[in-house]
Symmetry: D2
Subunit: 249 residues, 4 copies
């Protein structure tokens, strides 16, 4: 048993995330850093990792993941090092009719391994509305709907902005979710949801189709969880591109 | 500074809750036990409390709260002792049209002080559907709706069953929530919600009116949180019977 | 894209877990049930799954996982169905010196796939004390120590009781954790921890060695997270038996 | 029943917190905004509040709480409006021997009511080490210790910096907690903790004494929760300055 994985979890710190529109966004991240290494190197790993992370603060970003991981490998004689960084990311979003702008928060993550040569994995969590097709079909009026979350993880083949990945996922629900809506906007999203009934499986499939069609996305997985308004439990759907390839082969 | 409060938090254990229909229900509780006492008694309090709780297991229930609190007071020379017990409680609920029965889970709590002479405080958390009156009014079809939770805490003047308190709260949303619905049930709850649009404030007010009218309820508070299907944040309303009395006086 | 996974998450219900000492233990579980199936079967899956789960309540246990999964597969024409069940499990534990008995809570889980023929996977989370070897070595007196959790998942080749798996994990820290200790017990566990300093990596390795040596355990993984008493973040170590085989080959 | 409380919960957004050393710190906050108002004003409150919050972003700070609350009151004809803002705050902390600097994260909160005229309430959560006096006394070597959190809420009579309040709380445990320690630092904090054994009650009392002696602190409460390294539950102590005044009177 000569190799083992060890590291630090939930190291909370300020970080700066590059924005599509230019500049960086200041936010707060929880970082995990782990390494697979020979047993005799392991004892000092928490100290070494904390020290390295501290040196990079507050400028830890995907651009210096390779340098960070390389230093971890070298100082710990590790076979492989991996970093992941979860953070809140904010995007100014425009209401569909009034054009009012408001900030939406999205949970995002970057993760990378010292064995990767390309872009780090991206994960985004986007809230959407789902409106139940069955409820709409059988009811004389109305249809139950609710907030759902789309968790999309991808391997980018070239740089993909968080903004674009989030917009892609948000377009796949019954309707989008906003921080601030005026009355004409509320009318719009209500009617939009009613006109586009979707089960969680439909949402997962639509996101998967868009990810398959995207030339810059390699592997991906998409999970959709709907906090059912008429039930006390969640409905869930999941697609992994590895299974899709198996099936279509 | 001769008095201080100390105790234990989140002591997880199996408990038995008496049911309205007879018998007891086995479930799992997180218990907190604290005492206000002179400083020189305080050092052994964690041990004394853990030992006393262990003696009562798994038969801790509201009936032996007075004995437990009295032993805590005596052994620790405490001025006051307080216990609270949070647990999952299950009720078989009948679907509105098909009559299908399914189990619903409710978060509940009992809490008591050695200074109380009557029944312990009850807290129940009941999920309901809320359907937005504004969205319904301005939209040509549909209306956004979502799961909301009603948190109702009361001081019973006489024994009140959890089952009755939960049923009272559940009747105050746009529609009730179920574990299992057949298609005619789903049609019913969808139309029921559309026919009874309510803001969180309407739900809080309706629960408060029923609690005010209940002859066995003394003090109460009600909070309603709605996980908005078109927004990323919650809407919240709260009523405390103390404020109501102030206003109506 | 003809296959997709869908199902229900966090269906909370009472369950009965068979105990090593005989009889069953009543507790509360969160169940997830998912299936991989053709797209045209998917729309009714939440209803079918909720209905099936409801039929088995409150007698869902590993013994009827195969029947449940087989019914899910048949009714949904699914390729594969998977169930997992997370619950609190209680074991009466004897203090090391005084012999006082008290109940300890452990988070446990069973999970199974319709493709498995053997025992379901078991997961247990056991709290232990870890005492830092470095801190002990460099300090004139004392050594920092803290609560850590061992998360052990295994594929049993034959029936393994939760009680035995938990006892195995608990024996691998600097000292065990108890609900109730008298003074001679507290002296014992304090000295025991000081005499057995261990990093999280040491704990993970010790659990892995015991799991490797156990003739009834196939695949396993072990994660150890230590809530460092001198830091604000966790130390973490992880071993997967698949990596061990790779290395020792 | 003419008055009711309503508002929004968990509105997540970027904020800028003024620092003692000058400048501001960019971080992420969860904001709650509620108002007590006549029932006929209530229906639009979520929209009005979201719109007002959006106007202030990202410059919501305690300095404009009065203006925000005054606008909420005016637009909703509310009797009272209250805001609270929870956020991660980072402070560069110097290791006790090596002088190495590292960033520590602290959960903090500001809250204010339109009825207040002075400074907003401050809450800080500071991690410390507690080392058990009983364990140390009865054991031949070592003593169990663990991470504990001090939650201190105060009414400042004049401006008090978060930095100073956190430093005051951190000085009251068996030892302080750091993000990064070199070996001589680890020796120091280990011996420091062993030399200053404290129960949670001792920590709560020490914080309370310092808060009582502080001329710029009015009301305060302090809660200390210790994640016991030898137990599976927490020890807890609490002091409210209102009770202290009662006792000392």
């Amino acid at each position: 048993m000569s190799l083992q994985t060890a590291g630090i979890y939930n190291f909370t710190c300020p970080v700066r995330i590059p924005q599509k529109e230019g500049g960086v966004q200041d936010t707060v991240a929880a970082i995990s850093l782990i390494a697979r290494m020979p047993q005799d190197q392991i004892e000092s790993c928490v100290d070494v990792m904390t020290k390295l992370l501290t040196q990079y603060l507050p400028d830890i970003h995907t651009g210096n993941f390779p340098a960070l991981l390389s230093q971890v490998r070298e100082q710990l004689k590790a076979e492989e090092a991996r970093v992941s960084m979860r953070f809140s990311y904010f995007i100014a979003k425009t209401a569909p009719v009034s054009g009012t702008s408001s900030l939406m928060e999205y949970q995002c993550a970057f993760s990378a391994s010292s064995e990767d040569t390309g872009e780090p994995l991206l994960t985004i969590v986007a809230p959407v509305t789902t409106l139940c097709p069955c409820s709409r079909e059988i009811s004389s009026f109305g249809a139950h709907n609710q907030r759902a979350t789309i968790t999309l993880s991808i391997q980018p083949l070239r740089l993909i902005w968080l903004e674009d990945l989030i917009a892609m996922a948000e377009s796949c629900g019954s309707s989008e979710v906003y921080a601030l809506l005026k009355r004409p906007d509320e009318k719009y999203v209500t009617e939009q949801a009613y006109a586009h009934p979707m089960f969680v499986e439909d949402v997962a499939r639509k996101v998967a189709q868009q990810a398959m069609a995207h030339t810059d996305i390699g592997w991906f997985s998409v999970g959709v969880e709907s906090f059912e308004s008429i039930h006390n439990h969640s409905a869930y759907a999941f697609v992994d591109s590895k299974d899709l390839k198996k099936t279509t082969a």
